[in-house]
Symmetry: C2
Subunit: 212 residues, 2 copies
Amino acid sequence: MSLRYALLGFLSTTPASGYTLGQKFADGAGAMWEALPSQIYPELRRLETLGWVAGKTAPGDKLNRRIYTVTPLGARELKKWVEAESNEHPPERDAERVRMLFLDRSSPDAIRRHLERHRDHYGKRLEVARRNCASIEDGTSERLRDRLANSEPGERAFVTRMKWFAMDGLVRRAEMEIKWAEDILRWLQSAKAQRPASKAAPKRRAPRRGAT
Amino acid sequence: MSLRYALLGFLSTTPASGYTLGQKFADGAGAMWEALPSQIYPELRRLETLGWVAGKTAPGDKLNRRIYTVTPLGARELKKWVEAESNEHPPERDAERVRMLFLDRSSPDAIRRHLERHRDHYGKRLEVARRNCASIEDGTSERLRDRLANSEPGERAFVTRMKWFAMDGLVRRAEMEIKWAEDILRWLQSAKAQRPASKAAPKRRAPRRGAT
DNA sequence: CTGCCCATGTAAATCGTTACATGATTAC
DNA sequence: GTAATCATGTAACGATTTACATGGGCAG
């Protein structure tokens, strides 16, 4: 049910086509809720029949682009959703950590490769999120500009800051995942030095990390 | 497809019934991949027809508990999965951050309530994860003991450490989410002091956080 | 005129949730 | 004996992925 509101939210800043939304979802400000065309297009049609958005194709457009705009009803429904008290967090489903849990019977090399992929994956995400944060800070974010254009002048600093915090969450997440992977990689490296083959190594207790 | 391997993984440590797995998934070491009974039971049956696990009900058991054990084939398939190179990370779907993104048109009070729920939610997760970490460290973790019982003596320190790292990932995630929420809450508090009603506030640039 | 990107979809299959059903066991 | 918990499921629905289809525009 969140795809619906993610679409609605992005359209509440700037009217857009399904294709454009799909692009934003993949990389830009929308690296928060990814979805495929086959899910986006039907959902936009459903939003239209609900009367939450209005879609229009420009008469001369050969590409048949359908541009959607949020209706007042849609804006109210979006607000209802973001403010809802019953925000049950989604169930935890952390495939990477599950893998790590059961990689203990694999070779240190397999574990290392896995962690390097993890680190690199979040490295890319970090880059995107940092870039987005920067463009919010220096005012080059198109989406933020569109958003501010629809805001009261007195609210603009507030809106800017909220956007920044949201994006900063993605930065922090990526930083955490990278550090987690690197800490384990470092330990694997030092453990390897101690037990070159695969056996031995005196039993040591897992120490706490630096800060809590 | 990950539920299948999560089940397989947990069974590779200790044979268990579907009900038991459901419990572990909800709180204990399994706060990594939650699933409901209606998904767990059919999946276990499918794993059985695949020959990856063997299920048996003890003759005298009035409760009709079906205890599943991983077969050698199942163990090989699990290993194949955890070591697979094509570990595409799942698409990002972060409903909380999407909400934050579009909460900028709501009252600071609504935002505050939202963030407090976020903080409290991860506070509970942090407690569970810390408890699990602690029980791995002090050797009171039953699941770890079962796991070590099936491991070579020389590998035990390594296995212990890997389990700890996996669980530590959940600790770090929860700590990060709590800090994120608290940082925004603190800012809301200070911003409120500056603009008590809802207007004004001199435009300020979003500053970088302490460390990168 | 061939291959690639833009743009919008449909159909089938799989994964996950919600609602419901059933019976036995344990604690009060 | 009644309520909570143990234990296993089925059916229907909703969300998501995979595979496929289609046609216009643009660069070589």
